[in-house]
């Protein structure tokens, strides 16, 4: 038995709250700034308590955008981010689960070569091949399109590996049983394997949605039209103008809005999130 004395426990609580404060302070500050007047912030006289401009700032941010630098409603940027994140997450899950199914449940020539071809992509993050990829997407006329935003990020070795690993643990008896019932490969996949994979898919979805929503370098390169901007790109463009002209309350409101969906997913689906994170890193 290792009992913690009262004093040590007290210290632990204090350290944890300090940690939480450090983690939360920048975000709190952003929220506070988003409710205050720009002139006050620009003077460096910002208060540490929320101001009275909450509704006005968020209304302008979501429906109008900044008056100077981008002029694009952030609501529209969020929609672009949402479409991109969903396409990446669902696309990855869909193409990975069927290719893992083929690799585990069939024997065919080049099976292992194909597996390795997919596996090696794990080592090629988009950052190391940005310009050639950009050129291909441009040649395919996919700049400023949802397809161009999501397709190059969809191929995922992690998801394929994860499903492969999971399928290997599914007992062979299930396949034999459904075969006796007269099920072919489609029926078995749809009626047996897919329902069994539900938790894995959900955990993966949580992680992939966050990764998709937070994409930055790739959308930065391939979106040129303002109405195709994602929220992460929009926020950078808002602070490009000289400091004096930056509309900080709107920038900070955009930062808060950019954090909201992924943070919500982490907090509400915490179990799936932790599971997804641990599984994808294996």
């Amino acid at each position: 038995m290792v009992e913690e004395e009262g004093f040590r426990r007290y210290i632990a609580h204090v350290i944890l709250w300090i940690g939480i404060a450090i983690v939360a302070f920048p975000v709190y500050l952003a929220f506070v700034a988003s409710t205050q007047d720009n002139a006050v912030i620009a003077n460096g006289q910002m208060s540490l308590l929320p101001g009275g401009h909450f509704f006005q700032t968020y209304y302008q941010t979501i429906f109008v955008g900044t008056s100077g630098s981008t002029r694009e409603p952030v609501g529209n940027m969020m929609l672009n981010s949402l479409v991109m994140a969903l396409l990446i997450a669902l696309g990855k899950i869909a193409i990975s689960i069927i290719s893992a199914y083929a690799i585990v449940y069939f024997r065919f020539p080049f099976r292992m070569s194909i597996f390795w071809l997919i596996f090696i992509t794990l080592m090629l993050p988009v950052e190391v091949r940005i310009y050639p990829t950009y050129k291909i997407v441009a040649d395919l006329h996919m700049l400023d399109s949802y397809a161009g935003l999501s397709l190059p990020l969809i191929a995922s070795a992690t998801a394929t590996l994860l499903f492969r690993q999971f399928f290997m643990t599914v007992p062979d008896e299930l396949l034999e049983a459904s075969r006796i019932d007269g099920a072919g490969p489609f029926r078995f996949f749809w009626d047996t394997l897919l329902p069994l994979s539900r938790t894995n898919m959900a955990a993966l979805f949580v992680i992939l949605f966050i990764l998709g929503w937070n994409q930055y370098l790739w959308p930065l390169l391939i979106t040129t039209r303002d109405d195709m901007q994602t929220i992460q790109i929009g926020i950078r463009k808002m602070i490009t103008t000289t400091d004096a002209l930056t509309e900080w309350p709107i920038v900070m409101a955009t930062a808060v809005l950019a954090m909201l969906p992924p943070v919500f997913v982490v907090v509400v689906m915490q179990k799936l999130f932790v599971r997804g994170l641990v599984e994808t890193e294996k």
């Binding site: 940005i130 050639p132 390169l221």
Partner: protein, 293 residues
């Protein structure tokens, strides 16, 4: 490892792997190959003719002082980010591992920054420590520090490291906590019975048992510092002032985009690729062994 129960079909498996294979070939292998080929080519100033120059782009690159400095800088950033973020996260995880009231609440309140995107992290931190309007800058100046990360390169570097480490705390915390919870209680109790005080228990029993997690996280953090800091740097300093926060990935981006020097940018990409492959290789070798103590 192979399944015994399988389906028989000649064409179906190919149809099933086709979508993924197509994307992998078009968007991974083709561009990677292009980068490799391009790194051996030199384009003239007007883009009219290209010639095969063997390793000239690479040699040129290593002669360039800026590239050498970018390599050193990237490694320094990675090291500083990994060490600061890991040690703080470990402290929090050790505290949260204790049987405390509200430990689930603590976990929730500490893991959510994982979901904050790097560019947003950059915006939050530059706002907090902005030379003219940052809330914390007031205190720094009051403490007699001439704080201006937009002009002072060292301060800019410190800011990037702090912001990048901040974002990574939650990830490291989560894995440390999982690692700590997988250590059998009986081992710690045995040490306690032998009379080891908490500090000693931590350094002689818990820390060594945690070494696989630490090593795994070290590699993950280095990869993170290499690639995911791009968004932080781009919204905060854009590689400046001067080149004091330009990392390797940032240099690939600026050299290809602004400089238009595609041959050099491609050569840099290939070098980065090799670095990632080495890092991933280390990680896999390690994860396979699972435990080493």
């Amino acid at each position: 490892m192979q399944k015994q129960a399988i389906f028989q079909s000649k064409l179906l498996p190919y149809a099933l792997v086709a979508p993924q294979l197509a994307i992998v070939l078009i968007f991974f292998y083709w561009p990677a190959l292009q980068a490799m080929i391009q790194s051996f080519l030199l384009q003239d100033a007007f883009g009219l003719s290209t010639s095969f120059v063997w390793f000239e782009n690479y040699i040129e690159l290593f002669r360039e002082r800026a590239y050498f400095e970018a390599i050193l800088r990237t490694f320094f950033f990675s090291f500083a980010i990994a060490v600061s973020s890991l040690s703080f996260a470990l402290l929090l995880a050790v505290m949260a591992d204790k049987p405390l009231r509200g430990s689930m609440l603590y976990r929730t309140l500490l893991i959510w920054p994982y979901a904050v995107a790097p560019p947003v992290v950059g915006v939050l931190w530059i706002f907090m420590l902005h030379p003219s309007l940052g809330v914390l800058s007031r205190y720094l100046r009051a403490a007699g520090i001439d704080w201006n990360p937009l002009l002072d390169g060292d301060q800019a570097a410190a800011l990037i490291i702090l912001a990048a480490a901040w974002k990574q705390i939650s990830y490291n915390f989560l894995f440390f906590l999982a690692g700590l919870q997988s250590i059998p209680r009986s081992v710690i109790e045995a040490a306690a019975i032998d009379g080891a005080r908490p500090m000693r228990r931590f350094w002689t029993v818990i820390f060594p048992l945690l070494s696989p997690t630490i090593f795994f996280l070290l590699v993950v953090n280095i990869v993170y510092a290499f690639f995911d800091t791009f968004g932080i740097i781009d919204t905060m300093t854009r590689g400046g002032p001067g080149k004091s926060t330009e990392t390797l990935v940032y240099k690939v981006y600026t050299d290809g985009l602004l400089g238009g020097n595609l041959g050099s940018s491609a050569a840099q990409s290939v070098i980065l690729m090799i670095m990632v492959i080495v890092l991933t290789g280390i990680q896999f070798r390690f994860v396979e062994r699972k435990v080493t103590y």
